[in-house]
């Protein structure tokens, strides 16, 4: 889509492309490109390099390390990052808690947390979902009861992604149980080393340990850890989730994964040639390619509206989430289908040894990724939630 960019935008894209490919260690990018899991250290390393150059938190206010970029530049920053297979800066830090603190937090909270958050000296975890508060997030029950200069927190959070690495956790907690459910929620920062905080792993169907449940048992939290005003947490959460939706279509990442499935298909033999020449497979692949292009054009149209001066939240971004997540799943399925029978085992290494031939490329990650990717139509507002938004906001139903 380079041809749609003006001269400055094209130059900016070139600059980002060059930066990502020279400054971020190749072995990290290779791992991302081939679907390997990154360690905490590797994620931290990558984000710190970005941060040193001002590229970790461009969406933040300039005084806290952000960039005065246009919507198109922010799009290019992210798109080129995904195309270069650069590990994305931790979303909990850069697109969730950071903007909330920067927008609604006190000066003291900003100074205390923002630099460390950008540089990932603090690893943030998200404490929103609960066992009985998923899509209906506002029905959350974890309570924070004021006791002098502290809150006493009790309850349980779940689906805490990478919570095993977490230093701090930003939470939605109920501070007033006697009002309309949205009106009694506050946004509270909790040190995960506090007594009474327990993190337990949840194993997912891909075999990995990506998410956790977190229990709070009479955890004492100083009142200065409250962001903004008490009982205004729902407003901050909606602001945060709005930020989460931009870029959630992961178009650059889908392009990389699709190119990979296609490359493997081209070297996968069938009874009649390669899989890429198989009429049914190639029809399916081709259709996915056209849909990915349609998704990208839709994102660019929304960007163009923003660039023309509209900064209103655009309900069309629900289309991006709905379609983009489905496409991620379709592409992950495509890779599994490329591998065929040799993609059906959970294995650690494609080298089998003992005189057996190596497994095909992708054999290690395709199936776990396929199962892991089921999450994308569930998180960040499930597909059903997005359809609800579209039918109400765009069709008036």
């Amino acid at each position: 889509m380079d041809t749609l960019l003006n001269a400055e935008e094209r130059e900016f894209a070139q600059q980002m492309r060059q930066f990502y490919r020279t400054e971020i260690p190749e072995e990290l990018r290779f791992k991302v490109a081939t679907g390997q899991e990154l360690s905490k250290d590797e994620m931290v390393t990558s984000q710190r390099i970005l941060n040193q150059h001002g590229y970790a938190v461009p969406n933040w206010p300039v005084e806290w390390g952000g960039q005065d970029w246009t919507p198109v530049q922010r799009h290019i920053w992210l798109e080129e990052m995904q195309l270069a297979c650069v590990p994305q800066p931790l979303p909990f830090n850069v697109s969730m808690v950071g903007p909330v603190i920067a927008t609604f937090g006190s000066q003291e909270l900003k100074e205390r947390f923002l630099p460390a958050t950008a540089n990932i000296d603090i690893w943030w975890s998200q404490g929103f979902s609960e066992p009985n508060a998923g899509s209906d997030l506002a029905s959350l029950k974890t309570s924070a009861v004021r006791d002098g200069d502290k809150y006493i927190v009790n309850g349980q959070k779940t689906w805490t992604t990478l919570g095993q690495y977490g230093d701090w956790m930003f939470n939605l907690v109920r501070t007033d149980p006697n009002v309309k459910k949205q009106a009694g929620i506050s946004f509270l920062l909790i040190d995960m080393k506090s007594p009474g905080v327990t993190v337990r792993p949840i194993q997912l169907i891909d075999g990995g340990h990506e998410v956790n449940e977190v229990f709070f048992d009479n955890v004492e939290v100083p009142v200065e850890n409250l962001v903004g005003e008490e009982n205004k947490g729902w407003t901050y959460a909606k602001f945060l989730l709005g930020n989460e939706r931009t870029g959630i279509a992961r178009i650059g990442g889908s392009k990389v994964n699709l190119a990979r499935a296609k490359a493997y298909a081209a070297v996968t033999k069938t009874a009649r040639g390669t899989l890429l020449d198989d009429p049914l497979f190639s029809a399916r692949l081709t259709k996915i390619e056209t849909e990915l292009t349609a998704l990208e054009m839709t994102q660019l149209r929304i960007l163009s509206t923003q660039a023309a001066g509209s900064d209103k939240p655009d309900p069309r971004s629900s289309v991006l989430k709905l379609k983009g997540s489905q496409l991620q799943e379709d592409i992950s399925e495509l890779l599994v289908d490329v591998l065929g029978p040799q993609g059906l085992d959970f294995v650690d290494d494609r080298v089998q040894g003992q005189g057996l031939s190596d497994l095909p490329h992708g054999a290690v990650d395709a199936l776990p990724a396929y199962f892991n990717t089921r999450k994308v139509t569930i998180y960040g507002g499930s597909s059903e939630v997005q359809r609800g938004i579209i039918s109400k906001a765009l069709l008036g139903l």
Binding site: F30, V319, R387, I390, S391, K392, L394, G396
Partner: protein, 382 residues
């Protein structure tokens, strides 16, 4: 990056919409549909006076010297109102065939009349044994003793052929594809006019040693591909107009039709399906734009990608057209089945227009053969 309509295009869109709302509503359209010719020459004249028929034609041939972007604005508005007159056949297909392949003399002879609304054109490229394989016609062209050329063969589904004054006809001469200009009153030309399911007219033609002129100012194969690409880009714009109208009408129906004591739109089963249709509409808008960018791009090497990008776009638009037209009828229930109610007319136009030069399957196969849109690449393969 700027993908918005410019001021002139917005003005064109709003003026035309206003005109069509008052002069081309469902009742007036119905009247035209029932008339003997199935089109209104009066309306066509009005389109000419608004300058719609020569938007992308150079001024020297009587046009407005604008671009396909403005043509697409008109096509979208026409799609919304289900305009029956042969805009696609004359102002897009025929005009571009003559513009791209005609000599200076031929262009001067044909195009001013088109821009003034006096001349209808049609491109005859489909044949009974070809399905969509237009690049290999069986119609033959033979050099005549007087230095001219005659055509023999059969053409079908010639869009706008029912009223055309001139045909651009594909034929093979000495093994090479060629384009030929044939007057509607030429000797040895038999025309059988037909009405498509969407109400637009077409014709089947039989040519028996029919005198013709060569349109050979450019390579016929390249011209034919470009004409079809432009035609498809126009179809996509028209489809967006029709899709938007269909979905708006359907959403309105869901809000007003009551069953079991409530509007049927309160049912989540219908809300979610309607949301999916909305997402498809956005995709169609995006890809209509993508094709418009492809056919208007002046970037170096853009021609190479033009055809590929247009067919990629059309695959997506075809899918949206299929889903939205079918679901619109379903969500309307029995009333959607009636000729009296407008929703079925949109479905008919969408069904026909997306199968005019190709269909989603033929395009998918072609795009795959062209290598698709994504370069295969895996970091661990080299």
């Amino acid at each position: 990056m700027d993908l918005e309509l410019n001021d002139i295009q917005q003005e064109l869109a709003s003026t035309l919409s206003k005109y069509l709302r008052s002069e081309y509503d469902a009742a007036k359209r119905e009247e035209i549909l029932r008339s003997e010719e199935g089109i209104s020459r009066e309306k066509w004249q009005a389109f000419a006076e608004m300058g719609l028929l020569g938007l992308a034609v150079p001024e020297s041939y009587g046009g407005a010297d604008m671009t396909f972007n403005e043509v697409a604005v008109v096509a979208e508005a026409f799609g919304r109102s289900l305009v029956l007159e042969p805009f696609l056949a004359t102002a897009v297909l025929g005009t571009n065939a003559v513009l791209l392949a005609g000599s200076e003399e031929q262009k001067q002879a044909i195009l001013p009349g088109v821009c003034e609304g006096q001349t209808f054109l049609a491109v005859a490229m489909l044949e009974p044994n070809l399905r969509y394989a237009v690049e290999a016609p069986e119609t033959t062209a033979t050099a005549a003793a007087d230095g001219g050329v005659t055509l023999s063969g059969e053409k079908n589904n010639v869009l706008g052929g029912d009223v055309a004054d001139h045909f651009v006809v594909t034929a093979v001469e000495n093994g090479d594809l060629g384009l030929y200009l044939v007057a509607a009153d030429a000797e040895g030309l038999t025309r059988v006019a037909q009405r498509q399911a969407d109400g637009l007219g077409n014709a089947n033609l039989r040519l028996e040693n029919t005198p013709a002129q060569r349109l050979d100012a450019a390579d016929a194969r390249e011209v034919l591909t470009e004409v079809i690409d432009l035609g498809n880009a126009a179809i996509m714009a028209e489809a967006v107009g029709a899709l938007e109208a269909s979905l708006t009408m359907t959403a309105d129906y869901l809000k007003t039709r009551e069953q079991f004591g409530a509007p049927i739109g309160v049912n989540q089963a219908l809300q979610h399906r309607a949301a999916d249709l909305y997402a498809e509409l956005e995709y169609a808008r995006s890809m209509a734009l993508y094709s418009r960018l492809a056919v208007t791009s002046e970037a170096v090497g853009a021609e190479k990608d033009r055809h590929r990008d247009v067919i990629a776009a059309k695959i997506v638009v075809d899918q949206a057209a299929r889903n939205i037209s079918q679901e619109s009828i379903q969500m309307h229930g029995g009333i959607g089945m009636t000729m009296e109610y407008p929703i079925g007319h949109y479905a008919k136009r969408l069904t026909v227009m997306t199968r005019t030069f190709d269909d989603a399957d033929s395009l998918t196969a072609e795009l795959a053969e062209l290598g698709g849109l994504v370069e295969p690449h895996a970091a661990d393969l080299s």
